[in-house]
C-alpha cells in the first residue's frame, strides 16, 4: 500500500468511527428527552427518537445528500437519487462521507422531538421527520457545507452550530409555538413546573451526548492528517462543556438559592453546542469563555421562553440548540484564531463577524419559514396535537397501547 492509500485508509476509518460516535448521540437525545418528561409519555418519546433516525436514514439517502452536496447553484444542490454521485474528499469512499453526513442530519432532526414532547401526534411527527432530513436541513446545509453561497462568503461553521443545532432549534421553536403548551403548564398566566420523571436517565443521556460530541466536532476534520488540530478540537469541545456546566451551576445557585441538576445538565449541552462552530479555530482559553457565556445564556433563554414568551419547551431544546447555536456561531467572529481564519479579538476586523451574522440570520429565516409552512400544514391537515384526553392520560397508552412502566 502506498502512502496516499494508507492516508486515505486512516482518514476513512476516522470518518466512520466518529460517524458511529455521532450516531450514538441518538441514544443520548432519547435518554435526555425521556428523563426530562413524564413517565406516561416515555414510550412515545423514545419511539419518536427511534423513528426520526430510521426515517432520516432513508430520505437523506434517497434525496437529501444530493440536495446538500450536489453541484447545482449556490442555493440548491441537485437531485441525485440514491446518493450515487461522489462528494467525498479525495481518496475517501463516497459512502463513508455519506454516512458521516447522514448522522449529522439525523442529529438536527432529533432535536425537535424534545420541544414538542408530550403532546404531538406520533404520525405528524413522522411526517415532520421526513421533511427535515429530506429538504430543510439539506438546503441550508448546502449553503454552508455543500459549496453554496454562505461558504462562498467565508461563513465559518466548522461542525454545525448553525447547520445542525440552530436548524433544529428554530424548528423546535416553531413546532412548540404552533403546538401550544402542555395542559397545565400555564395557569392564570403563570408557568407551572412539570418535573421530568427520571433524572438518572437524563444525566446518562447528557454524558452520552458529551461522548458523542467527541465524534461530532473532531470528526468534522474528515482527516487525521493534522493531529494537532484534532487534539485541539477535543480540548476545546470538552472545555466548553465543562465551563457551561460550571457557569450554569454558579448562575442558578446565585439566582435561585439552590443549584439544580436539571438546568446544569442543559448548561453542559449549551457549552457543547456553542463551541461546535469554532472548535477548530479558537484557543482552549477562548473555549472556556464561550462555554461560560453559553451556560449563563441558556438559563436566561429558558426563562425567556418559559415565562415571557410562554412557549412550552419541556427539555430546553430551543434554548440549548437554537439560541446557543446562534451564539456559538457569532463567537467565531470574535474568537477565531487558528486554522486560517481570524476574528475581531485577534485583529481580523469585523468582516468575519458580519458574515457570521448574515449566515445565522439566513439559516434562521429559512428554518423558521419552513417550520411555519410544515407545522401549520400538518396542523390544518391531519392535525399536530393529540386530544385532551390522550394528553392527560398519557400518549403511551393511546398512541401505542404500550406503557413504558407496567409495574
Amino acid at each position: 500500500m502506498d502512502l496516499a492509500a494508507l492516508t486515505a485508509s486512516i482518514d476513512t476509518f476516522w470518518i466512520l468511527i466518529t460517524g458511529a460516535l455521532v450516531f450514538f448521540m441518538q441514544a443520548g437525545f432519547a435518554l435526555v428527552e425521556a428523563g426530562f418528561t413524564r413517565s406516561k409519555n416515555t414510550t412515545n418519546i423514545l419511539f419518536k427518537n427511534l423513528m426520526d433516525f430510521c426515517i432520516g436514514t432513508i430520505v437523506f439517502w434517497l434525496v437529501g445528500y444530493g440536495i446538500m452536496f450536489g453541484a447545482g447553484s449556490g442555493i440548491f444542490g441537485a437531485f441525485e437519487p440514491f446518493s450515487e454521485v461522489n462528494h467525498a474528499p479525495a481518496g475517501i469512499p463516497n459512502l463513508a462521507f455519506f454516512f458521516f453526513q447522514l448522522v449529522f442530519a439525523a442529529t438536527a432532526a432529533t432535536i425537535v422531538s424534545g420541544a414538542m414532547a408530550e403532546r404531538t401526534k406520533f404520525s405528524s411527527y413522522l411526517i415532520y421527520s421526513a421533511f427535515i432530513s429530506m429538504v430543510i436541513y439539506p438546503v441550508s446545509g448546502h449553503w454552508v457545507w455543500g459549496g453554496g453561497w454562505l461558504a462562498g462568503m467565508g461563513f465559518h461553521d466548522f461542525a454545525g452550530s448553525t447547520v445542525v443545532h440552530s436548524v433544529g432549534g428554530w424548528l423546535a421553536l416553531v413546532g412548540a409555538a404552533v403546538l401550544g403548551p402542555r395542559i397545565g403548564k400555564y395557569k392564570n398566566g403563570k408557568a407551572n413546573a412539570i418535573p421530568g420523571h427520571n433524572i438518572l436517565i437524563g444525566t446518562l443521556g447528557v454524558f452520552l451526548l458529551w461522548l458523542g460530541w467527541f465524534g461530532f466536532n473532531p470528526g468534522s476534520t474528515l482527516s487525521l492528517s493534522n493531529p494537532e488540530l484534532v487534539a485541539r478540537i477535543f480540548v476545546t469541545t470538552n472545555a466548553a462543556a465543562a465551563a457551561g456546566g460550571i457557569a450554569t451551576l454558579a448562575f442558578t445557585w446565585i439566582k435561585y438559592g439552590k443549584p439544580g441538576l436539571s438546568m446544569t445538565l442543559n448548561g453542559v449541552l449549551a457549552g457543547l453546542v456553542a463551541i461546535t462552530a469554532g472548535c477548530d479555530t479558537v484557543t482552549p482559553g477562548a473555549a472556556i469563555l464561550i462555554g461560560l457565556m453559553a451556560g449563563v445564556l441558556v438559563v436566561l433563554a429558558v426563562e425567556f421562553f418559559d415565562n415571557v414568551v410562554k412557549i412550552d419547551d419541556p427539555v430546553g431544546a430551543i434554548s440549548v440548540h437554537g439560541i446557543n447555536g446562534v451564539f456559538g456561531t457569532l463567537m467565531v467572529g470574535l474568537f477565531a484564531k487558528e486554522n486560517g481564519i481570524t476574528g475581531l479579538f485577534y485583529g481580523g476586523g469585523t468582516d468575519l463577524l458580519v458574515t457570521q451574522f448574515i449566515g445565522v440570520g439566513a439559516v434562521a429565516a429559512w428554518s423558521i419559514a419552513c417550520g411555519l409552512v410544515l407545522f401549520y400544514g400538518i396542523k390544518f391537515s391531519i392535525g399536530l396535537r393529540v386530544s385532551k384526553k390522550e394528553e392527560e392520560n398519557g400518549l403511551d397508552y393511546y398512541e401505542h397501547g404500550e406503557k413504558a412502566y407496567n409495574s
Partner: protein, 115 residues
C-alpha cells in the same frame, strides 16, 4: 374491635412501629400518601419558581381488640409527635366483624394468635 388509622410523618415511621410493638401491636398495614393542606414549600424547577402544597405522609392502619385502643393510641401519639404543624391525625372507628381467611374464624379471636 376497633380500627385505628393514623396519618403520620414518614420520618417518624420507625419510632411508631417500635412503639406499637412495645404495646403489643405487631401487625399493621401501611401505605404512602400525598395530601393537600396548608403547609407550603417553595421550589424551583428549571427557571420556574413555584409553591408546592403537596404534602407527603404515611398511613398506618390496623384493627385491634378494644382493650388495646388506648395504649396503641398513646404510643402512636408519643412516637409520631415532633411538635411542628403537620404531625398528623389518628382516627378510630368501630369494626362490625372480622374474619381470618385461612381458618374462617370470626370475631376478636381472628385478630390474634392464641398461645
Amino acid at each position: 374491635m376497633k380500627k385505628i388509622e393514623a396519618i403520620i410523618r414518614r420520618s417518624q415511621f420507625e419510632e411508631v412501629t417500635e412503639a406499637l410493638h412495645e404495646v403489643g401491636i405487631d401487625f399493621f398495614t401501611y401505605w404512602d400518601v400525598t395530601g393537600v393542606g396548608n403547609e407550603k414549600s417553595g421550589a424551583v424547577y428549571r427557571a420556574v419558581v413555584y409553591e408546592t402544597r403537596l404534602i407527603e405522609r404515611r398511613t398506618i392502619s390496623f384493627v385491634c381488640r378494644d382493650k388495646f385502643v388506648d395504649a396503641a393510641t398513646s404510643a402512636i401519639v408519643k412516637a409520631a409527635r415532633t411538635g411542628e404543624l403537620g404531625d398528623g391525625k389518628i382516627f378510630i372507628s368501630t369494626i362490625d366483624e372480622s374474619v381470618r381467611i385461612r381458618t374462617g374464624e370470626k370475631g376478636p379471636e381472628s385478630l390474634y394468635i392464641k398461645e
